[in-house]
């Protein structure tokens, strides 16, 4: 990574990380058993939700779940589908792809092919959780425990979220984005805006900073800085493209030719936003909006198993505790347990419903097992997890939630028992072999291998092709070259040519994409020439 102009990054020296909070040692003691359980009519009322919430909050506090303030919002099924369509956010800019999403969801919902999620929770401060109107009282209790305390504490506690997202400003930013895009549509026409959005969306997974921390800006600052930024960016672009007069005493121009960018750039959208020669200032801003929102979702994509597992573990824990203390009736228990069982169901491979590992099932199993290892360790656990076996479970669990992402969490905590319980096995698919080969199963020889393989499977770096900005032909046709570095010799999907069209549209000149194998040789080459660009 090269040193970027830190245009929007705070000039105030070293970044401040929030001080690490101390880990809770043990749950606070339980109060006396309740005399009477909470009422459990199937129809909820606002008072009832508040009562349940209060009880759940009290228990969550005893388990030291530190959360953002909660804002529960009751919505209808249709509103839930609206929220689905705009990637779960309460506001978002308008784009046809969200319309497509909405239409698809609505259709399968109306036909009864799809149940709606019981909840959507938004990583914001206050943390917004949607409760669906159709839910029964028991389901609302489940959703509150799951979303408002499980997910919420994860958003606040996990290091990726703490590092990469700013819960307090996201809603403001989305409002800003929505208004800005609408403004652009008015000024420049819907088609022009749609083109830029389409192209930026195609690259949104490549619009993420993996190592820099994004700045935090309030809406007002964002607005104030926009104009400044646009002017500045435009002068920067011109600077790069300025053709310097040749000095007569230096004919050897080629030797002087500097490589640009001086190092490969992984954030393609950022590179385009800053360097694409022909983009208008407003187009750069649109690219930036897509990039910023992609960045906000980046931690979520890396913590699926952890996040869902954590929320599932806690709704299970909180509601069971409430039951043990006499707050919940049997009816409520049966109802949420049924739903819980469905959520953590893991169909085995070959089952008609099988579509990969269920993050709820895996995460729930792993957190539950961490607790078991702490409380009732076996000899095997003492050998595998000497640092946590037999220690208090609450700090161990909080530690596991705060300091990992899926990849490292699995690498660290996937125990032989979970591997046995889920009967995990690894299959190698190599194009050079005629058959698939089973490389490890749930036995002593295989535990470590399975764990490593699964950990790699959740590594975003290996799930998504590694494509970076390689070079720009500054003196010639201004074409941009991207480079794909093959991982395990896996080629790119044929759709790459389509994506390249979008890159070319943003860049404004010809674009090349090279696929490089492990020996550093270019094996495949795609390109959009300037003349083809004119037809896009």
């Amino acid at each position: 990574m090269s040193g970027r102009k830190s245009e929007s990054r705070s000039p105030s020296g070293p970044r401040r990380l929030r001080p690490e909070r101390t880990l809770p040692l043990a749950p606070l003691p339980a109060p006396a058993r309740a005399e009477k359980a909470l009422p459990d009519p199937s129809d909820w009322t606002f008072d009832l939700i508040e009562e349940y919430h209060e009880k759940i909050r009290a228990v969550a506090q005893r388990f030291a779940l530190d959360t953002y303030a909660n804002q529960l919002e009751v919505i209808t099924a249709e509103q839930m589908m609206d929220a689905y369509a705009s990637v779960g956010m309460p506001v978002n800019y308008r784009h046809w792809s969200y319309g497509k999403e909405f239409i698809a969801n609505e259709r399968s919902y109306r036909r009864g092919q799809m149940g709606l999620a019981y909840e959507i929770v938004i990583n914001s401060d206050p943390c917004i959780s949607y409760l669906m109107e159709e839910n029964t009282t028991a389901m609302q209790a489940l959703v509150i425990a799951h979303a408002a305390y499980g997910h919420n504490s994860f958003f606040k506690g996990n290091y990726l979220f703490r590092l990469w997202t700013d819960a307090s400003s996201i809603i403001d930013y989305l409002v800003y984005a929505r208004n800005y895009i609408a403004e652009c549509e008015d000024k420049h026409g819907m088609t022009a805006v749609e083109d830029i959005l389409d192209s930026s969306h195609a690259l949104q997974n490549y619009g993420v900073d993996r190592y820099h921390r994004p700045s935090k800006l309030s809406l007002a600052e964002e607005l104030a800085r926009r104009t400044e930024r646009q002017e500045y960016a435009q002068t920067q672009v011109n600077d790069i493209w300025r053709t310097l007069p040749r000095r007569p005493d230096r004919p050897g121009e080629a030797a002087d030719l500097k490589r640009f960018p001086s190092e490969p750039q992984e954030n393609i959208l950022y590179f385009i936003e800053k360097n694409a020669p022909l983009l208008e200032p407003w187009q750069r801003e649109v690219v930036r909006i897509v990039r910023k929102i992609a960045q906000y979702f980046y931690p979520q994509r890396q913590t699926q198993v952890m996040n869902e597992g954590w929320a599932t573990f806690w709704h299970h824990q909180l509601l069971n505790t409430l039951y043990d203390e006499g707050h919940l009736t049997d009816g409520v228990m049966i109802e949420w347990l049924k739903s819980h069982t469905n959520v953590v169901f893991q169909p085995p491979v070959g089952h008609p419903a099988y579509s990969g590992l269920n993050p709820y099932a895996l995460g729930f199993a792993m957190y539950t097992d961490v607790r078991r290892i702490c409380e009732n360790p076996t000899d095997e656990d003492r050998e595998w997890f000497p640092q946590i076996a037999g220690t208090p479970w609450l700090p161990a669990l909080h530690h596991a939630m705060r300091n990992f992402k899926d990849e490292s969490f699995i690498g660290q905590y996937l125990s032989p028992k979970v591997i046995r319980d889920l009967r995990l096995f690894a299959i190698v698919d190599d194009e050079h072999d005629e058959h698939l080969r089973v490389s490890a199963i749930h036995d002593t020889a295989g535990y470590r291998h399975v764990r490593e393989a699964l950990s790699r499977q959740y590594d975003l770096g290996s799930r998504e092709p590694d494509i970076q900005v390689w070079s720009v032909n500054l003196r010639g046709d201004r074409s941009l070259t991207l480079r794909h570095t093959r991982h395990n010799n896996r080629p790119l999907h044929d759709g790459a040519q389509e994506v390249l069209k979008h890159v070319a549209r943003l860049w404004g000149f010809g674009v090349n994409l090279e696929s490089v194998d492990s020996f550093g040789d270019v094996t495949t080459h795609w390109s959009i020439t300037a003349s083809e660009l004119a037809q896009i």
Binding site: A69, P348, A445, R490, L492
Partner: protein, 426 residues
């Protein structure tokens, strides 16, 4: 901790409507094509419905960089039953280790690769009207519901204060007061009677006590009776009004079409749109509409809609045969005093040349006096004698309209007068 529950249920749904519009806009070419096909296949009466639109999935996919098949990968699966390390497994179909079957592209029907969505009735009509180039005013006129009038419909227990029926409410209140108080009043009467029976002014302690007790009881009963509200919210009755469509008279629409060999599919399609537009106009104004389909070549025949648009004959053309048949049908079934008669005729203008004059005579003498409106479209450019004869009519008859139409957008002007006059009246 700050915590709040917000009820968003009334905060408006359809937040995605803007996204849906953008989606439709992006695929307007395909959507328009689908609407055109649907209009083609539907009956005139079924025109106002939504439609399922199929789009091939590859057309609407959003590209992104991803791994293709090939290379080496290791995938962990759950639920191992029989495998041990080193086992070899047949590669499943589709080449990928995941074994998820790749969908095959379907070219028709609801194939796996089709993205299907439902165009609402409103959206469908919007696109249909776009095609016909209808002016906006006319669109709203066609899209709006028939005129409604409110009628009295008894009483209800909810409503606006202005609809409060005082008499009904008071009557209810009296009934309630009587009913609720009857038990207490009977008790009160009994107790008062007992009190009367007690000797007045007695100083006997037992009698004084008894009198005291009775008086207390009576006071309690009186208090209870006094607590019965004079008027209670449940007594309120409101005049109820319902909105009913204004009943209008019946109409019959005659569709006349030339089905001789020169009328090809494209011309028939234009004619169909012409009939649909008139039908839509009529549905806004009449509750009951009969459709009569008359097709003709040298002879005219009354047929059902299916045969009207599908069948194709060869041979010459005698237009007057259709007009004669229409006249006969009117005499038999649709007396002009009871029915509003509309005529719509489509042809390519080809006619046996001696017949055209007779057509004009038939129209002026027997048909036009009985019709509310008669419209003629010629779906071919060439002007022949039928056109010339009709052109003479147009000059003198105000409720006769004619037009040459070679594209759907040219149909509307035929009805311009019809819609205009209606607007003035409305």
């Amino acid at each position: 901790m700050l915590q709040q529950i917000i009820d968003r249920r009334l905060a408006g749904k359809n937040k995605s409507i803007g996204n849906r519009e953008r989606f439709l806009r992006r695929y307007q070419g395909q959507v328009r094509e689908a609407v055109r096909k649907a209009v083609d296949q539907r009956g005139i009466r079924d025109i106002e419905q939504g439609e399922d639109i199929h789009l091939p999935k590859r057309d609407i996919s959003e590209p992104s960089f991803s791994h293709g098949s090939g290379g080496a990968r290791e995938i962990v699966h759950p639920g191992n039953r029989e495998y041990v390390r080193g086992d070899h497994i047949e590669r499943p179909q589709g080449g990928s280790g995941r074994g998820s079957g790749q969908g095959q592209a379907g070219d028709s029907g609801e194939g796996e690769d089709d993205f299907v969505f439902h165009l609402t009735k409103e959206e469908f009509m919007q696109i249909f009207f776009d095609d016909l180039a209808l002016p906006r005013m006319t669109r709203t006129q066609l899209a709006e519901m028939p005129e409604m009038k409110s009628h009295r419909a008894g009483y209800s227990n909810s409503g606006t204060p202005s609809n409060l029926s005082v008499i009904r409410s008071m009557r209810g209140a009296i009934g309630r007061r009587v009913a609720i108080g009857s038990g207490s009043r009977a008790d009160l009467a009994a107790l008062e009677e007992q009190l009367q029976l007690l000797p007045a002014g007695s100083t006997e302690p037992a009698e004084v006590l008894a009198r005291k007790a009775l008086e207390l009881e009576i006071a309690a009963l009186r208090a209870r009776l006094a607590r019965i509200p004079y008027l209670d919210p449940i007594d309120l009755r409101f005049r109820n009004r319902v909105r009913l469509p204004v009943p209008t008279a019946k109409a019959v629409m005659f569709c006349l079409m030339d089905v001789s060999g020169s009328m090809d599919e494209a011309r028939k399609d234009l004619s169909k749109r012409f009939f649909i537009l008139l039908y839509l106009f009529l549905t806004r104004h009449y509750e009951k509409i009969d459709l009569v389909f008359i097709r003709h070549h040298t002879q005219a025949q009354e047929v059902d809609e299916e045969n009207f648009f599908r069948a194709r004959e060869t041979g010459g053309t005698v237009v007057s045969s259709a007009l004669v048949l229409m006249d006969e049908i009117i005499r038999e079934r649709y007396s002009a005093t009871e029915w509003n008669i509309y005529g719509a005729q489509a042809s390519d203008g080809d006619n046996w040349h001696h017949d055209s004059g007779r057509c004009r005579e038939l129209l002026t003498e027997s048909l036009l006096p009985r019709c509310r409106y008669f419209a003629y479209v010629q779906v071919a450019e060439e002007e022949q004698n039928l056109w010339e004869e009709y052109a003479r009519l147009q000059a003198v008859e105000s409720h006769f309209a004619m037009r040459k139409v070679t594209q759907a957008a040219q149909i509307y002007p035929v009805f311009r007068d019809l819609f205009k006059s209606d607007r003035v009246a409305a």
